[in-house]
């Protein structure tokens, strides 16, 4: 019975074991189950605060839907005008774990910022743009007068919108190669506000005139400039001349004639406030003839001051007369400059002789293209008095060969290029009537002046001439309209061609 008590439970246990071993469920899950990720939040619109070249950017925390804060932020800066992204500078680069950063050395301009939440590799949506942060350009402002009348000069100034921590060097006229100036800023280096007081010395060797002082920041991100004007010297008179009222060749005047004084006066440092000419050697008592500003060109030289018309004394001895120019600038620097002179010539010119020439290979006695006629005076003549605007170089005129229709033979006249106005050469009679039977116009004839002679080379004839086979005594009766360089009119005294007489042309 004891054995049975042991056997029965054992058999029971053994029989139930297979049932336990097979009572397992290996159950796949249903498709309805899932896990869903959140999305990174949108950044909050940042606020900006500008101090000098630094922009403090701050923003509110961005959170996931469950309230968890993102681990960092990406700060970006954009050009407010174009929306172009800019390279962000130190302190705001990379992932910012805090809710603020201060970007340093921000370039001048108008910018806006954004922040983008970043969590691990996740980037949220970029925030709306911040208000615009405007960074002023670096500036240099002198707080004392910018015109310097004595050197060396220490000038007070202020700088603004420089990069924090910069030191400043000073240069004249060029920010990289200009003369290094002595200067300093207080405080130094540039504080967070970007502004300092400054002092810079303009050295003694600085030339008169406008200059630019550069304040150059050590980081290379700040350069500012300001203009100064140095004026320690009086005006400079570089040229002066007297010209007769009728214009033309300067430097000559006749007694009793009218003239103007012209001067070229410069003052690099300031304005010229007064200019006068002392021409008392030409006009009695004219010790301070006022000069007024303008622009005139005489014989290729430009002058910027001239006098009103002045009348030369009469009588006035011939010869060279000296005169001076006095000029004063804005800072009362005055200088009187001499070394200028005018020649007084009161002698009237005369006709000396007239001569014609046959061109090489031409027909003697026949006026044809290339032949010439030369008027010789007692002294150089004023081209302006012959033809307005003429300076003496080759110019086109018309030579008229006129049939005699009377005594003295055929005639020669010089007209302008358009053949509408006769030039003041007076009358030339060739002494023979054999040169033409009609009026012939030699257009495109060329007139030149050389010394006391004026030569006209015949141009294209309007008709055929005839050949004079007789020797004729040509006679020239000059015009009194033509003048010499001093404005003295030519005497009306006839002259014959030099002997021996011969056919003209």
């Amino acid at each position: 019975m004891k054995r049975l008590r042991v056997l029965v439970p054992t058999v029971l246990v053994l029989l139930t074991m297979p049932g336990i071993a097979h009572a397992q469920w290996s159950s796949p899950g249903g498709g309805r189950s899932y896990t869903r990720a959140d999305i990174a939040p949108t950044g909050n619109r940042p606020a900006v605060s500008v101090s000098g070249r630094n922009v403090a950017v701050s923003w509110a925390v961005a959170k996931f839907a469950d309230g968890a804060s993102v681990s960092g932020y990406i700060v970006k800066r954009y050009d407010a005008g174009t929306g172009t992204p800019a390279t962000i500078n130190a302190s705001c680069t990379g992932t910012i774990a805090a809710l603020t950063c201060t970007e340093a050395a921000v370039p001048p301009g108008s910018w806006y910022y954004s922040v983008t939440p970043k969590h691990g590799a996740w980037l949220g949506t970029e925030s709306p743009a911040s208000p615009t942060a405007t960074i002023a350009s670096p500036s240099l402002t002198f707080t004392s007068a910018t015109t310097i009348t004595a050197l060396p000069a220490v000038k007070a100034a202020t700088i603004a919108s420089f990069v924090t921590g910069e030191t400043v060097t000073w240069r004249l006229d060029n920010p990289s190669t200009g003369t290094l100036l002595t200067g300093s800023i207080v405080p130094t280096p540039v504080p967070a506000s970007g502004s300092s007081s400054a002092s810079v010395t303009i050295p003694a060797a600085t030339a008169d005139g406008p200059h630019t002082v550069y304040a150059v920041g050590s980081s290379g991100a700040s350069t500012a400039s300001a203009a100064i004007s140095v004026d320690t010297l009086p005006p400079v008179v570089s040229a002066a001349v007297i010209q007769k009222a009728t214009g033309g060749i300067p430097g000559y005047v006749a007694q009793g004639g009218t003239y103007r004084v012209y001067a070229s006066i410069i003052d690099p440092g300031s304005a010229i406030t007064a200019a006068t000419a002392n021409v008392s050697t030409v006009t009695t008592g004219a010790t301070a003839s006022a000069l007024t500003a303008g622009s005139w060109t005489i014989s290729g030289v430009t002058y910027n001051y001239r006098s009103v018309l002045v009348t030369a004394s009469n009588p006035l001895a011939a010869g060279s007369k000296a005169f001076t120019i006095t000029a004063t600038d804005s800072f009362a620097h005055t200088a009187t400059t001499g070394g200028f002179s005018v020649i007084v010539d009161s002698t009237r010119p005369t006709a000396t002789y007239l001569i014609t020439a046959n061109k090489a290979g031409g027909t003697a006695g026949l006026a044809e293209t290339g032949d010439s006629i030369t008027y010789v005076f007692s002294e150089p003549m004023e081209p302006e008095s012959i033809l307005a605007g003429w300076t003496g170089t080759g110019t086109a005129v018309t030579l008229r060969l006129l049939n005699a229709n009377g005594g003295g033979g055929d005639r020669v006249q010089i007209w302008n290029a358009a053949n509408t106005a006769q030039l003041p050469f007076g009358t030339v009679r060739l002494g023979s009537t054999g040169y033409t039977t009609t009026s012939i116009n030699f257009t495109n004839s060329t007139m030149t002046i050389s010394g006391s002679s004026i030569t006209v080379v015949l141009g294209t004839p309007s008709g055929a001439g005839t050949t004079a086979v007789v020797s004729s005594n040509t006679r020239w009766n000059p015009s009194t309209t033509a003048t010499d360089w001093a404005g003295n009119t030519c005497q009306n005294t006839s002259v014959n061609e030099p002997v021996p007489v011969d056919p003209e042309f």
């Binding site: 469920w25 159950s27 309805r32 869903r36 959140d38």
Partner: protein
């Protein structure tokens, strides 16, 4: 007289033991799948979690329904994460980390119980995983009790 008495004791015991064993073997019929046209004969596990973000660990509450007429005890649940999809593209399932649940959870017949599993999204989950949804499948092991 002694022999009949022994037989009268052992025979019912053996019969009972065999019946229990048979019933245990019969409990394996619901191992897999659903017999179409009939009620599901498997443990049903459901559960989801939202709002995951890199580095975050959340608890996934799994609801296990026992459709059987007998009590069962679940002792292992494995969670399988499939490739997820989201507005930014695909996100591999390996970025979502789970560990098997192990223990003993008794579920009465036709009742539902909850077990909790930790789910963690790896910190290095790429940006394209934002908003992704990973399908989960479960593999549970249980025993009848």
């Amino acid at each position: 007289m002694r022999k009949p008495r022994l037989t009268s004791v052992i025979a019912p015991v053996l019969a009972a033991s065999l019946a229990v064993s048979a019933a245990a073997v019969a409990g394996t019929w619901s191992v897999r799948g659903v017999d179409k046209g009939t009620a599901a004969r498997t443990l049903t596990i459901t559960g989801h979690v939202n709002g995951m973000h890199p580095g975050m660990t959340k608890t996934l509450r799994l609801r296990i329904h026992n459709p059987f007429a007998v009590h069962v005890a679940v002792y292992v649940i494995r969670v399988h994460v499939r490739r997820g999809h989201g507005p930014n593209g695909r996100c591999a399932g390996r970025f979502l980390v789970t560990h098997p649940w192990k223990g003993v959870r008794r579920i009465p017949a036709e009742r539902t119980r909850v077990v909790r599993v930790k789910v963690r999204l790896r910190r290095r989950a790429p940006d394209r995983c934002q908003g992704a949804q990973w399908p989960l499948t479960f593999d549970a092991r249980s025993t009848r009790v």
